[in-house]
Subunit: 499 residues, 2 copies
């Protein structure tokens, strides 16, 4: 491989990703510190960067460099191979989708959002329906432009989970559903139920913030390379391995919101801080998929954060900080933070029912994009699915098919990454426990760094070297599978609920 050609190529790639890191900062600022009247100007700033980015990503010069490097490919050099392969993917996707289509989608989503807000408020699906129709049409056009083998949905999902195929995902999801539905039903009628009111005891937000920082610190978050702020909707934003910022929000009378929110976002943040800084600005230091990203957050939030082992160490400290919990035994706390209750709203769902919400959306999206589910039938299909999976039916479409913002933003193919994240998380955690017989005892003593090291070594440092399905195999020795997740849920929830 000609090192000069590769050097020029990497310079282009770094410029592109540097512009993306600027987008991330603009978005982070928008949610944290931006004065409210600046919204329109911020839109212009984002548009300006997007314009420059698109131009740089689609320019012929980059295509020529890629062609040249592909001809000189050296299989031994996985860094170069990764960077060339992933930039080729992005360049091709950007070239294939014409600017005018991007603009039509942007315009349609703006209108759809304007319709969705009042439609949800009034539970008035027909008001939103024509917009959904148009967006589906546009996204099908986009899928066709990008190209697909089995079904157009693959082309859309590929944006968030490169290499994933809907048919494969469906197969695993079906197995998960077959196990989850009876588990949810059993838990609902279980003899033991948690006392959830203890979670509503007063915990001053400033003390929550200080406690959360201790946990993030224990998990290995580097505060010299990142920060925690407050925003309405929590998120994590990695601008480089040395600048990873996430947010949280506080409810004085519901400590789990910030506590598990911070563990979740710290999980995301450790992934971003775990890339090799030497590769900053190249695919080798970028997450491989949203599913893998979500696996890192869910692993820390659930496998670790809602485990009894974790609280063996941290619960006395929590009680010392929050006297309102002083009379709550560890077991009651542990049971309460593992409350399972079928609910209408996805974002409030627990870790057992959450996946069922996702699988419903995945089902519907796949059918909608394929043209098999007419838009007017969506509410009915939604409600039937909710009844079948969670045994509840929304009283109206506001709490049903209008609840999520994704569709009005034209986002199709994103939802499955949430459920994939849970499956990957269980696989990774099981593999880590196999590899480290000490792990449980370490966690029970508050020693979380060895787990971070295992994740860094086996997942984070690889960046985009492997696609998600390959990475799972490299890190765990297995293909994507449902059993570790189901085993984990059964292992925790059956004893808790006395099943």
């Amino acid at each position: 491989m000609d090192s000069e050609t590769y050097g020029t190529f990497i310079q282009h790639v770094k410029e592109i990703n540097t512009l993306r890191s600027i987008q991330a900062l603009l978005e982070w600022d928008q949610e944290t510190y931006m004065p409210q009247r600046a919204a329109e100007d911020r839109g212009n700033q984002l548009a300006a960067v997007a314009g420059v980015l698109h131009e740089k990503l689609t320019r012929d010069e980059l295509g020529d460099l890629l062609t040249k490097l592909e001809q000189e490919a050296d299989a031994e050099n996985y860094v170069a191979a990764t960077n060339v392969r992933e930039v080729r993917r992005e360049h091709d996707r950007a070239v294939k989708v014409p600017t005018e289509l991007v603009k039509r989608i942007a315009k349609a989503t703006a209108l759809a959002r304007d319709a969705w807000v009042p439609a949800r408020k009034d539970a008035d699906f027909p008001r939103f329906a024509p917009h959904l129709e148009i967006l589906l049409e546009l996204k099908r056009e986009m899928a066709d432009r990008i190209g697909w083998d089995s079904e157009p949905y693959d082309a859309l999902m590929d944006e968030f989970e490169p290499g994933a195929r809907a048919a494969v995902v469906q197969e695993v999801f079906d197995k998960v559903k077959a196990e989850l539905v009876p588990l949810v039903a059993a838990i609902k009628d279980a003899p033991r139920q948690p006392n959830t009111s203890i979670l509503e005891r007063a915990c001053p937000p400033d003390k929550q913030g200080a406690f959360n920082r201790r946990i993030a610190e224990a998990m290995g978050f580097d505060f010299e390379a990142g920060r925690i702020d407050v925003s309405v909707h929590p998120f994590c934003s990695g601008h480089s391995p040395k600048d990873v910022r996430f947010t949280t929000r506080y409810d004085e009378h519901y400590i789990p919101m910030s506590l598990f929110g911070v563990m979740h976002e710290t999980g995301h943040a450790l992934y971003e801080q775990g890339f090799d800084a030497e590769h900053t600005g190249t695919p080798m230091a970028i997450n491989t998929s949203l599913g893998i990203h979500e696996s890192q957050s869910r692993l820390w939030e659930n496998q670790v954060g809602r485990s009894r082992l974790f609280w063996e160490h941290f619960y006395p400290a929590l009680q010392a900080e929050f006297p309102s919990l002083a009379d709550v035994p560890l077991d009651a706390w542990h049971f309460a933070i593992n409350t399972v209750r079928p609910s209408l709203i996805r974002v409030e769902a627990d870790e057992v029912t959450y996946g069922l919400h996702i699988m419903l959306r995945f089902d519907l999206e796949r059918q909608m994009i394929a043209g098999k589910l007419p838009v007017p039938d969506v509410p009915q299909a939604w409600n039937a699915g909710m009844q079948q999976l969670l045994a509840i039916t929304p009283p109206d479409d506001a709490q049903g098919c209008l609840q999520d913002i994704h569709w009005c933003m034209g986002i199709f193919g994103y939802f499955p990454t949430y459920a994939l994240g849970n499956l990957y998380a269980a696989q990774f955690f099981a593999a880590a426990r196999r590899a480290m017989p000490e792990l449980d005892r370490q966690i029970a003593r508050g020693g979380l760094r060895p787990l971070r090291e295992w994740l860094r070594e086996n997942i984070h440092q690889h960046g985009k070297r492997y696609r998600a399905h390959e990475l799972v195999k490299v890190a765990t020795g297995e293909e994507l599978a449902h059993t570790p997740f189901i085993d984990y849920l059964n292992g925790k929830f059956r004893p808790l609920y006395g099943l």
Copy 2:
């Protein structure tokens, strides 16, 4: 004027200025919230934006649009005339200075800074001298590229104070010096002296912050279109009229630092918020010069903030907030915040001596750029100037000619804008008082908004419509003059010091 051509032109201009607003955000974040390990990545982000900006500013298409618009000029349309004239100026300056010269300067300043830090620490001027030599050579080359009529210094000063000419500035400065030197000497030996120790009384920083916000609010700062944060070096950063952010710093035992710091920065901020938002992203909504910018900060900090009238209203509130000042009479407070004391360090100077520091640097810079002051002679010239103007001599070069960072950053021509700001401030304030006979009484009642309105009407809203020297004439009816400033100083300080 062809509205389509003009529309395309404005689109280019807005893109350029939107990118600049992104630079401003990156810099603001760097000083406020950026994690410390992100410094290098931030450098790459700034370089990426600078590269795109330079490309957009120098592209032929912009030059062609300018030429076309200049041919079709319509003198009636001052908005278009302003935008075309000012973008032409920037385009030409950018085109005339080749990228390789910019890079040479960047490299030389990086090396110069590396030498200046230890040189200042060890008071070792010879260590810094060769770098100063190189920088002067490079800046002369830059001045020659840009072009000049009377002397190369004009081309450099023009970057910060468009249209200003060193010979004209010198003439006014000489008149100021002739008045200030005897005033400083008289104050030094005056029969009355302030009790400065009252300024060191404890005032909790969080209460300082709250009090400062009240003052900024009273001055008319729009908190929905801006914010106040903390940084080591206070600054104001206007990203658009709807996003203006400034910073301050607190010293529990020196309340004037944040108090007058915030009034100063709010003055800058009101200028930025006062542009017509309709023109966001074009020269009509950009400051006309740094001297005018500084006039706005100094006017609020000094003419208003250090006046007895202002404290007639605000002093009781200050005392209520800070019990440590409860036994300090208003007059003692007013005298203390107007302490005049010749000092070695510019940034700590009061409003009487400050200008003399600036005029010394202006003198030396002008001679250095003209090649009339050899670098080895700078320390001696500095010390002689300090003795002549302030009757003190630095004990070493660290407290003398090595104290400021400007020269090692290659910044020549910037200093005079500080002193011009003081002169403009006095002229504007005198004009406002003439135009509003009620003004003194309003200020004494805490009514600061009418003054903001006058400034907005007569200065802010014009953006770059007028060059600084024209703006002074439009707003005050006078040319740049030294008498309002001298009259103001004599009017306040002679009675205070019993002269």
